[in-house]
């Protein structure tokens, strides 16, 4: 009955190659913090139960972005070149807060809200007049297609897309059009970490990868890569040194950062290719995430890494 297809040519199976995109914060660092959490909430698309963690960082970023736009004259009828007043900052703050709350993103406490507003006001007043005129772009998006060769991945070759979002580009020299005279800045809603802290390493790593992304885009490395720790403004007289870390952009350090990045990409890609049950297993006890991460994880009660630490309580 199927003589029809007796002479039909056999057809090879073409498998299509998957090209995933990776960003430093939401993929690489997130995977490193906890592969199990990454597997569920990023790879397997579970929706987490709350966004508690993000209120503080989000509101600080959004409000500084507003201040930049305000200065550029891009908000309503505001004239370019004016620094927002305290009242205006409060107005922006309330609006953003209302939106975040409406969309289910809430702050941990009233105190953290008060702090966020206070620090942003100080930053705006004290640093705004010097900084805002130098801003070249904000929320600057960078992308780069990368390939990891089979011999490097010790498996199949991997194509991926590296993505990054730089908070602000700052002109080192306002008269220059040269991309070499631009600094990349990233705001952190955190205290400045000690050099020995693992956070320090992560932040530096992030900026070095951004610098490489910048080089891919503009042909040269940026002049500087600067991390700004807004919470240091708990001391209103904090100096530039108190507030920032300038990240070294030596060629070998950037190359190490990129190698590190790719090694994590290889690890993540390996997880994807594992059998379903074996992928995304919980970290070893000596690699367990910091307590704050586990405390709000939706999978903490069944996690083998912190077995017995959390017990399920009734509402």
């Amino acid at each position: 009955m199927s003589d029809n297809f007796k002479n039909a040519p056999p057809k090879d199976y073409d498998s299509t190659k998957i090209i995933r995109s990776y960003s430093i914060t939401s993929d690489i660092l997130s995977y490193l913090i906890c592969p199990r959490r990454y597997g569920f909430f990023t790879a397997r698309k579970f929706s987490p139960s709350s966004n508690l963690q993000f209120f503080y960082g989000t509101i600080i970023h959004q409000i500084l972005d507003k201040a930049h736009l305000h200065y550029k004259g891009l908000i309503g009828e505001k004239k370019a070149g004016t620094i927002p007043t305290d009242n205006e900052i409060e107005g922006y703050f309330d609006k953003i807060k209302r939106a975040l709350n409406l969309h289910g993103i809430r702050s941990k406490s009233d105190q953290s809200e008060t702090h966020a507003l206070k620090y942003v006001k100080i930053f705006n007043k004290k640093w705004g007049p010097k900084l805002y005129p130098l801003i070249k772009d904000s929320e600057h998006s960078l992308r780069m297609n990368r390939k990891i060769k089979a011999e490097e991945s010790k498996g199949e070759s991997i194509d991926y897309l590296l993505k990054g979002l730089v908070d602000v580009l700052i002109n080192s020299d306002t008269r220059s059009e040269n991309p070499r005279d631009v600094q990349i800045w990233d705001y952190k809603g955190k205290r400045k970490p000690e050099k020995s802290s693992p956070f320090y390493q992560k932040y530096v790593f992030q900026m070095q990868v951004y610098a490489e992304l910048y080089r891919y885009r503009h042909g040269v490395l940026p002049d500087k890569a600067v991390l700004v720790f807004i919470n240091e403004l708990r001391n209103p007289n904090a100096t530039y040194e108190d507030l920032t870390i300038e990240v070294s952009l030596e060629a070998d350090e950037i190359s190490n950062a990129m190698e590190y990045f790719e090694n994590v990409v290889i690890k993540i890609e390996k997880e994807y290719s594992k059998p379903f049950r074996q992928a995304w297993s919980a970290p070893e006890i000596n690699e367990r995430p910091d307590e704050n991460t586990c405390n709000i994880c939706d999978l903490r009660w069944s996690c083998p890494t912190v077995k017995g630490k959390y017990s399920i309580k009734a509402p």
Binding site: N4, Y13, R98, I312
Partner: protein, 749 residues
């Protein structure tokens, strides 16, 4: 960057992609489309004609030959996935060019190229410019929009059947979620068809006036909640183009490139608001009040009217067919017309079959894009001395399914396919019920095949899902279906509940109780009991600390659920439940409230919302399986798909079902017609809904028969209903006759 000449570019590309060694080139029409200079370009791309290849080459040509900054180019695709594929292929080709040292590493910045669906591009631009109308606002996904309308729209609460029947085909009474769905369709349609709401408010028809009021109310509610939806993002984008920032985006400025090229894929499924956006981006001036932009009217559209599928989502194929007139109206120019006629996909006899089908069908004559020629099978398409078309005709679904199963077995046994995913069954709907895909899927499973049918809408029927939902119900409405402490159940107070929803809720609860009473899962039992007791122990109408989502996760952390989270069948389905509940909580709130009386445990409103809305959506829409965007065709499974899912895809063997489906008009045609007189701009819709529906059906069959590479197997259980799906020969005689099929050497089994 030094620009290349076209000849050098073309040679370099052939070289870099290693095509030369394989004797591969672009065909003349493709080359012409790539090379075309400035002005509007109209590319009709028949099935398998390599249109993506042409788009990729054309974009590279714009950058490398015409020296256009990628920032000045906008490329829209029908899905995000198609956009990503396109961007990936461009990146891949650029890598090849870099490898061969034809261009240098820093020459092209692809990050600046805007590729994606029009929705996402509009949204990204508005966000980039922090446009007031979207700033700080959240874009709802489809689930959230559905819950939003269900909660906030007064329209869906209208009880008068006459109101609903005005928009519907069948005149039966409909339930509340059905009304929500219809409301959604109507609201999206008003936005996308550019309906003049003021005109609608003054209509003689009271139903239309009421609808207009509700639409405005909906928009107001969105504002209040700081939300917006996929349809309105386009409307906001049009408004944006008129403001000073929009003009900067369009025409460029000191530090900014202007938009200079707009390329649109799948134009046959475009809708009127999108058409207007495309022409505005390309410098069109339909509205004399709008500034004439600096744009050079470089609009390239690619599509095929014969493959249009999406009228139910607002797609208007007539916009493609009539593109010449639109160009004239908006741009004062005639488009340059190119038809890609070489088919690289299918066996020549399949190409003949679909050519004859569309050409000879009397009901689509005159409605196709003007000047269309037949497709020609390429020398590189599958060949072989065999008949690639086979007809399976049974008297019942069961008999037909048996025959389908046998052919598939034969193909596998004889190694005609290397992987099961090279075989697809296409249906109008892939619901696994008796009238749709059910009998076929069941038969194939019975024969030991693995089937992938993600859009079967049956996830909610599995007891593993019902146990989980049942556990939540147990906590918020414990007395339901259970002997326990005295008290009422909110469930009993639901007066408007449909039988189907009632059955579902009771079934969920029963599934959970079976689990509970098995005493196999002590921790689960303890958690549920403790939760009920603790809430009962509280006093007054107060917020309870846990949210619904937290309760869901606590349950998922317990057996038997936690073990299923490492199971490939269940984890993706539980993930869908977490997504759904997130959408629900973002609109209805996930914060539980204790009841104020001793009758219930949780606030009556809260619980009834959960029943009517969360469970209601599941029951009325059905839950589809998770589809991995990265891997839409999983290896090792026979694919079962709707015609719509198969858009743009090809398979070695296609089994085409639903051949005797009625081609009568549906709600989408009626709604389109009702609003047609109220458009802001003269409407292009002139034919009746009956005729449009018939043509849509013919296009759908054409899409289906042009998917296969090696074998097209047409199967039916209704031998008398296949006139439209088989079509006519050149003499106007029906093709579904033994004589005709015999004359072509096509077997009927």
């Amino acid at each position: 960057m030094v620009a290349l000449t076209f000849k050098v570019f073309y040679d370099h590309m052939l070289d870099a992609l290693d095509w030369k060694s394989k004797g591969k080139t672009l065909n003349d029409k493709q080359k012409e489309a790539v090379r075309f200079g400035i002005g509007p370009l109209w590319i009709i791309a028949g099935p398998g004609s390599g249109k993506t290849e042409v788009l990729v080459w054309r974009i590279l040509k714009l950058i490398l030959v015409d020296n256009i900054n990628p920032k000045s180019i906008i490329v829209t695709t029908f899905t995000e996935k198609a956009g990503r594929n396109l961007a990936d292929r461009i990146a891949q080709y650029i890598d090849c060019l870099i490898d061969k040292k034809i261009i240098s590493f820093e020459t092209i910045n692809l990050a600046d190229l805007r590729v994606g669906t029009l929705h996402s591009i509009c949204n990204n631009v508005l966000q980039e410019y922090r446009y007031e109308a979207v700033d700080n606002k959240k874009l709802m996904n489809e689930v959230e929009q559905a819950y939003f309308v269900h909660k906030f729209s007064e329209m869906r609460k209208i009880r008068n059947d006459k109101f609903w029947n005005f928009f519907k085909k069948n005149q039966k009474k409909i339930g509340s979620w059905h009304k929500t769905k219809l409301t959604l369709t109507i609201f999206n349609r008003i936005t996308e068809d550019l309906i003049d709401v003021n005109k609608l408010l003054k209509s003689n028809n009271s139903t239309l006036r009421t609808t207009a009021k509700h639409y405005l109310h909906y928009l107001k509610r969105l504002e209040e909640q700081m939300l917006y939806d996929f349809a309105t993002v386009q409307k906001k984008f049009l408004e944006f183009l008129d403001c000073s920032q929009g003009q900067l985006f369009l025409n460029g400025g000191e530090e900014q490139e202007a938009i200079r090229y707009v390329l649109v894929d799948e134009y046959q499924d475009t809708n009127p608001i999108q058409e207007l956006i495309y022409f505005r981006l390309a410098g069109g001036h339909e509205n004399p009040l709008l500034h004439k932009s600096m744009n050079l009217k470089n609009l390239t559209i690619v599509g095929d009217d014969d493959q249009a599928l999406y009228r139910f989502r607002g797609g208007t194929v007539e916009l493609l067919v009539d593109f010449k007139n639109s160009c004239n109206r908006f741009l004062d120019l005639k488009p340059y017309f190119i038809q890609l006629i070489e088919n690289y996909r299918s066996h020549p006899k399949i190409v003949d079959w679909f050519n004859e089908y569309i050409k000879n069908h009397p009901d689509i004559a005159g409605a196709r894009a003007p000047g269309k020629k037949d497709m020609i099978a390429s020398n590189n398409s599958p060949r072989g001395n065999y008949q690639p078309i086979l007809v399976i005709a049974g008297d019942t679904h069961e008999e037909t399914a048996e025959k389908v199963g046998n052919i598939i077995k034969w193909l596998k046994d004889n190694h005609k396919v290397k992987d099961d995913s090279q075989i697809v069954l296409l249906f109008r709907s892939t619901k696994e019920t008796d009238n749709f895909a059910g009998p076929y899927v069941n038969k194939l499973r019975e024969l030991g095949n693995d089937i992938y049918n993600p859009r079967s809408k049956k996830v909610q029927k599995f007891f593993q899902i019902q146990e989980l939902i049942g556990a939540i119900i147990e906590i918020i409405d414990p007395t339901l279906n259970r002997s326990g402490p005295p008290g009422g159940t909110v469930f009993d107070s639901l007066t408007l509940i449909s039988e189907q929803l009632k059955k579902f809720i009771l079934s969920c609860k029963a599934c959970f109780l079976a689990l509970y009473n098995s005493n196999s899962y002590n921790e689960l039992n303890r958690y549920v009991d403790d939760s009920i007791n603790r809430i009962r122990g509280l006093k007054g109408e107060i917020w309870i600390k846990s949210t619904l989502q937290e309760i869901l996760y606590k349950l998922l952390n317990l057996e038997p659920f936690i073990s299923r989270l490492t199971n490939p069948d269940w984890a993706p389905r539980y993930s869908i439940i977490t997504n759904l509940l997130e959408g629900y909580c973002s609109i209805y709130s996930g914060h539980l409230i204790r009841a104020n009386n001793r009758l219930y445990l949780i606030n009556e409103n809260y619980t009834s919302n959960f029943y009517y809305s969360f469970c209601g959506l599941i029951v009325s829409m059905g839950l589809n399986d998770y589809e991995d965007q990265d891997m839409p065709i999983p290896k090792g499974y026979i694919q079962v798909m709707t015609y719509h899912q198969a858009k743009g895809l090809e398979f070695p063997y296609v089994f085409l079902g639903s051949l005797s489906d009625s081609l009568e008009w549906g709600n989408e045609h009626k709604i389109e017609e009702k609003f047609n007189p109220y458009r802001q701009f003269p409407s292009i819709i002139t034919s009746s809904k009956e005729i449009r529906a018939l043509r849509d059906g013919i296009r759908r069959f054409y899409m289906g028969i042009s998917r296969p590479q090696i074998g097209l197997i047409l199967f039916t259980h209704n031998k008398y209903g296949c006139v439209n799906s088989f079509g006519y020969d050149k003499n106007g005689q029906k093709r579904y006759t033994k004589e005709f099929l015999d004359s072509k050497g096509i077997f009927i089994i």
